[in-house]
């Protein structure tokens, strides 16, 4: 792999990771043969639950962990064995790790001082960073004199001050409360795009990954389940695990009955799915059909036709304000969830506990996942 030509297509790929593996204590595979490329200017998210290996992968990129196997290239330079302080990579730490004994100003200047940047340039750079994150008047405060959101911005300014080629973000919004998150998310993306730095971010929060990243890698047990744009991962999960992990999903198990290039049907215990596109499978194959709750419509009238609907009893209604989730118990005992937008002030559908209801969906609403 490493023998490939070094000149071609280098302008696009900034980070290239090849077969990276980390084994702890000779047994536990934290990261298992991961390869990826990140293009210049991209925001790349590693998404996964705790212990999926995303943090270990990030720490290997930063240089805090030595890979057991594999290589890391940054702008075609092999940095696998470079210590963290020699890498042109900076990290914004989870819960920020701001130096408590230094002022905001000195925190931001810290990295520049290590590079022996002349004082006047340090001053200029720190001040531009402070104005970038709009913290100019807090320059002389100590970190504990700042609120959580302000600390987060200092951490960002500190990690951007050295103009790293690659910025690593470790759960960048994890320490903030929910309300602050939404505004900070957008602010963070704006700043990153303004600076134009390439980013790898680690998060367990799918919403965070979807809103911030241009591409997402869903990780589990040390390897990538799927890599793709946010909508791709959400609308076209390539496996049950991904479908399950990202958002809510109703899973139906079934067998392919008709396999045509432009459509397939899948017979399940509960209903027959008519899928309006071809799949890479063949007749008689067992597959799963993933259907998102928001793509289901509920009604009291029995739908037309024989495909893409089922009947059940409303067993639970959960009101969220902007939408309501109905739990529908099907004749075979399976419970599916359906989400209805509350677009009028009277509660829609007119369904209540114990009602019989019909769930229907169109032929492009679901995804067929082969195991």
């Amino acid at each position: 792999m490493a023998t490939g030509p070094k000149v071609a297509n280098t302008r696009e790929d900034l980070l290239r990771v090849e077969g990276l593996t980390k084994i702890y204590d000779g047994a536990v595979k934290a990261v298992d043969n991961v390869s990826l490329t990140v293009a210049t200017g991209e925001i790349f998210a590693l998404l996964g639950g705790s212990g999926c290996g995303k943090s270990t992968l990030l720490r290997m990129l930063a240089g805090f962990e030595t890979p057991t196997k594999g290589k890391i290239f940054l702008a075609d330079e092999d940095i696998t064995n470079l210590p963290p302080y020699k890498r042109p990579i900076n990290m914004m730490f989870q819960s920020y790790a701001l130096f408590p004994h230094l002022s905001v100003w000195e925190n931001i200047a810290f990295g520049l001082r290590r590079d022996h940047v002349p004082n006047d340039q340090i001053k200029e750079r720190v001040e531009s960073m402070l104005s970038l994150v709009q913290l100019g008047k807090y320059a002389q405060r100590k970190p504990h004199q700042l609120s959580g959101g302000q600390q987060q911005r200092v951490a960002l300014a500190r990690s951007l001050a050295k103009r790293p080629k690659l910025l690593l973000l470790d759960e960048p919004l994890g320490a903030l409360d929910k309300k602050l998150r939404e505004t900070t998310q957008l602010e963070l993306v704006n700043i990153i795009e303004e600076v134009g730095v390439t980013c790898v971010l680690v998060t367990h929060d799918q919403e965070e990954a979807m809103t911030m990243a241009s591409r997402i890698a869903v990780m589990s047990e040390g390897y990538f389940l799927q890599v793709g744009a946010p909508d791709e991962v959400y609308e076209m999960p390539n496996s049950r695990q991904v479908a399950d992990f990202i958002g809510n999903v109703n899973m139906f198990d079934g067998v392919v009955e008709v396999d045509e290039p432009d459509h397939v049907t899948v017979r399940c215990d509960e209903c027959v799915h008519y899928v309006g596109h071809g799949i890479s499978g063949n007749k008689g194959m067992s597959v799963g059909v993933a259907l998102r709750p928001e793509k289901i419509l509920l009604s009291k009238e029995r739908p037309q036709g024989e495909f893409n609907w089922c009947e059940g009893e409303v067993v639970e209604i959960v009101y969220f304000g902007d939408h309501t989730t109905y739990h529908l118990k099907l004749p075979n005992g399976k419970v599916i969830k359906a989400q209805e937008i509350n677009n009028t002030r009277d509660l829609s559908c007119g369904l209540t506990w114990g009602d019989r209801a019909y769930a229907r969906w169109n032929d492009l609403a679901m995804v067929v996942v082969t195991q």
């Binding site: 064995n81 470079l82 210590p83 020699k86």
Partner: protein, 301 residues
């Protein structure tokens, strides 16, 4: 790659230095001295110096082990009694400290939050003043013509002075006095962290406050009780200064015997073997304590 190697080298050099310095320091000042004690305990006194363990007189080294001190130690019942009485006083001290310290720590943890730092500081303050001087102060209080007897006599409460000095009473007062803070501090640390909602839950489920204390507070503070007892018991076993200043001829303590063997009798092998047995005496409760801690951490995992 050269850079990486030099970095790795400097890192391992730094690591070797950081580990090596304390290793050398403690090896020279604890491990080797203890081995020397063991060695000397197996030698005998020859005029003014200790016999060599390795004998070269035949032209080749022969190891001479001399168990005379240990034999004497086991044959003379005085030593056995002294060990026993050291243990006895240490146990009694621990129990009294617990009996006084537990309610105290409990009340302290329940007192108003803003007063607690002050109350805590007042427990620590005597600890910062000389231990020796505080023991000496008890001497001035307890002797027959001491402050307490003088006050009681002048008030007419007693007719003749109470005998409170140079006996097990004065010894225990001194020991309890010196070690009480060591019992209170871990107990307080433990009890002040106790979540009061447990007690509320117990009350809610129909438990009387007194019962709740025995069923909830005491079991949850087990770690504090054990830590405090260890902190009192272990130094109490080997105590020398308190028995020397406050004890009497009947209050045998092993620390004093060791001191006398060394300074008065000049018998180094004997003093060393007394020390070796004393170490064994302390290692036993330490081992039990470590086992308990290991079990506790296992439970947490």
């Amino acid at each position: 790659m050269a850079k990486v190697q030099s970095f790795m080298r400097s890192l391992t050099q730094g690591r070797q230095l950081v580990i090596g310095v304390p290793y050398l320091w403690f090896a020279i000042l604890t491990a080797i001295p203890l081995l020397i004690v063991l060695k000397i305990s197996l030698s005998e006194m020859e005029a003014t110096s200790v016999s060599d363990m390795i004998d070269w007189t035949n032209g080749w080294p022969t190891v001479k082990l001399n168990f005379a001190s240990y034999l004497f130690l086991s044959s003379d019942t005085l030593y056995f009694q002294t060990y026993l009485s050291s243990l006895k006083y240490a146990v009694i001290t621990t129990v009294i400290c617990l009996a006084i310290g537990y309610p105290f720590a409990y009340f302290m943890a329940r007192s108003p939050k803003h007063l607690q730092p002050m109350l805590l500081m007042m427990i620590m303050l005597p600890f910062w003043t000389s231990f020796l001087l505080r023991i000496y102060a008890w001497k001035t209080l307890l002797v027959s013509n001491g402050v307490i007897n003088n006050v009681l006599l002048s008030l007419g409460i007693i007719k003749s002075p109470l005998l409170m000095m140079n006996n097990s009473f004065s010894l225990l007062v001194g020991m309890v006095y010196s070690y009480l803070p060591f019992m209170i501090l871990p107990l307080y640390a433990n009890l002040s962290k106790l979540d009061l909602r447990y007690l509320e839950a117990a009350a809610d489920l129909g438990t009387s406050p007194f019962k709740a204390f025995w069923l909830i507070t005491v079991p949850l503070s087990k770690a504090g009780i054990i830590a405090g007892s260890m902190l009192v018991f272990i130094p109490a076993v080997g105590e020398y200064v308190i028995p020397e200043l406050l004890g009497g001829p009947d209050t045998l303590m092993i620390g004093r015997v060791l001191w006398d063997e060394f300074f008065s009798n000049n018998d180094w092998p004997m003093a060393s073997s007394v020390a070796v047995v004393m170490i064994l005496l302390i290692l036993l409760p330490m081992a039990l304590f470590n086992k308990y801690q290991a079990e506790q951490s296992e439970v947490k995992v």
